[in-house]
Symmetry: C2
Amino acid sequence: MIQSQEKPDRVLVRISDLTVQKAGEVVWVRARVHTSRAKGKQCFLVLRQQQFNVQALVAVGDHASKQMVKFAANINKESIVDVEGVVRKVNQKIGSCTQQDVELHVQKIYVISSAEPRLPLQLDDAVRPEVEGEEEGRATVNQDTRLDNRVIDLRTSTSQAIFRLQSGICHLFRETLTNKGFVEIQTPKIISAASEGGANVFTVSYFKNNAYLAQSPQLYKQMCICADFEKVFCIGPVFRAEDSNTHRHLTEFVGLDIEMAFNYHYHEVVEEIADTLVQIFKGLQKRFQTEIQTVNKQFPCEPFKFLEPTLRLEYCEALAMLREAGIEMGDEEDLSTPNEKLLGRLVKEKYDTDFYILDKYPLAVRPFYTMPDPRNPKQSNSYDMFMRGEEILSGAQRIHDPQLLTERALHHGIDLEKIKAYIDSFRFGAPPHAGGGIGLERVTMLFLGLHNVRQTSMFPRDPKRLTP
Amino acid sequence: MIQSQEKPDRVLVRISDLTVQKAGEVVWVRARVHTSRAKGKQCFLVLRQQQFNVQALVAVGDHASKQMVKFAANINKESIVDVEGVVRKVNQKIGSCTQQDVELHVQKIYVISSAEPRLPLQLDDAVRPEVEGEEEGRATVNQDTRLDNRVIDLRTSTSQAIFRLQSGICHLFRETLTNKGFVEIQTPKIISAASEGGANVFTVSYFKNNAYLAQSPQLYKQMCICADFEKVFCIGPVFRAEDSNTHRHLTEFVGLDIEMAFNYHYHEVVEEIADTLVQIFKGLQKRFQTEIQTVNKQFPCEPFKFLEPTLRLEYCEALAMLREAGIEMGDEEDLSTPNEKLLGRLVKEKYDTDFYILDKYPLAVRPFYTMPDPRNPKQSNSYDMFMRGEEILSGAQRIHDPQLLTERALHHGIDLEKIKAYIDSFRFGAPPHAGGGIGLERVTMLFLGLHNVRQTSMFPRDPKRLTP
């Protein structure tokens, strides 16, 4: 066990650096034993480091005894080992490894951390495409087994790629907004009152009282706008006590939130948000091509398509498209999930884009703080954005006038006492502003064409899962 | 009220761009009315945009009527206005404004959002240094008034500077770690069991059961290390149900967390963390000099000093220094807050640094998962880091061996059943690793030499405050 006894002078080489250029060199490598196969006086190991692996050979001879071969053959899979070996060029490419042109001839091998002999899931099974599993009758791993043993499931090349790409989404989001002059803020998650009336909110015992978990940072983003920060963003957890057991709902997810003061029209904000998403898509396709292809191997999917500038449809146009496709819907009716999906397909057919904005939602289906459309009292200055036919962002111009806000809250039957602090934020001069919140796990899922948001949350939380 | 009726072609000019180069031009500006003063047929306004302001003059003449002057004089402070005016060079510098060489001769003025006539606090009072307040008997604003009216308090130049600099800390933290090859992760905040035995943890009603709010992302960072991410970081809320009402405790704060697999010695990690902090300090001093000076005007303070490489003291050395200064302390006793402060002063005197690492804490005062020192069983491979004599980071090599971890948990009297999932994470091969968590609000406070962590949390949470 490495307890920091000493600081040896030894250099550990990365497996990805083991190429023919290193042939003949003696190197030290730390890696996991991915597989091991003994064969007479030899033992073949595949050593793995994240998505890279190399073949290693322990053979009875000058540097290895019979005992050492036996020892190597008995190391449990997934154990971590330190290996000293000579890099040798091979004559025939090793198809099963990423380092195809070399193998390691082992001289010394130490177990740094031993894995238990029985693994709850096999990594090779965990990256097998479902089709292959079904057609060839080979094992795949179901979602609960994966999530119950997430530490192992996250070691697969697919998981490594998904979460490296997700880290890239956050990076690109911040990079784009910082370049646009936005300031990052940190907003509290424990709040004293449930802002939208109290439905779907988790209660926290707060010393001798009750508090709640924030369903969104919206109020705080808006307060920052009223405090003259002008353009703000934040990334943080969002909590929804919704008993929804679907492929796209989590009780805790990561919100990428934007709020911005504008000059004359909320479309100034809509354009900034859409451009931010476009910059994310472009950045992912440019910087994360390897990760996209790795995920595609297990979960095949069409590349994500988008237009510049982003397609913006009004709600009434979408209604017309749906009606033309045979759907019956009222003018002030919200989109159901199946209609949302269908609309996505219709838009893809007509405009060839997987990303679009739906603008001007009926006022009746939006929250009380949504600014009504000045031209049509049944519409509102609000919008959703969609990827592959599923909603990833909801946003609006917010009412910044305390009097109109009070009227709209009363219209919605909201207890004014509970939202007093919210309304009071606008009493000392508030700029017109708009914003929105993006679900990180949904963006990751839909960009990669995956089918369950639990694949893109490292440790997902839903009504039935709180572990690990 | 701007309800997005139209998209006018009008360009709004920033106050910071109003210089003599623009003299003679007619411009539109949107700004807050910082002050207004009527004087016969004239009204002088100071218009403010964040930290910038300019004088504007409404005078009876070609472009303004008597009514307009009266109207301008009656606009409540903090209201937001759109002003059209001619930029005029002034003969005498305007000392009270950031734009000293020009003023704006107003032709049109519209109120975009009106503030209520009585402000709960005056911005000029809110930026007054306390000394000035005390010596000259002028008003300052106490902390509760500030926090109760945070939307206004955050408009001051001092608050704007504090939170822009804080945004910079997060940016520099991520930038440095991304360059070092770290991956950003997102960890859940709702957890099923309180990992360290259940003290100081908030309880959440989770459908029909109870859950808890994470006191740190540590378990999840460690799981990512066991899942081969090698080097990870995260920024997110951390919750502590501690009834501590001090200048440096919050019940919810932002943690900057790091975890990293190392090769042979945990000092590899200590050096990476210390270097990350040094890069943050350097970046702040380079990129945020204006903000530092703005805060210093209200809260004077010596510039923050640090060494390269960072000073690392062992706990026994610190004990010797304290004992030499007359403090009586046992070998296995933890540092009290006053002794921590005193040690900071002694270290500053001797080494001229405001930042140092205290290494090798007594094993007895650290959590059960801390790796014991292999050479001295009373010591541990753990460390704290300090800024201006206050702790900002606590970290350690973590035990990665399930058997030793079990022994240490039993030694601490911890119920093994409750930490089963934690221990199980290490059963399938775990690399040696170490890490630590940094308190964002504390780093901001101590870097700027402020005296209360509530000044560096936008919406602070403590046992007595849950609003706004």
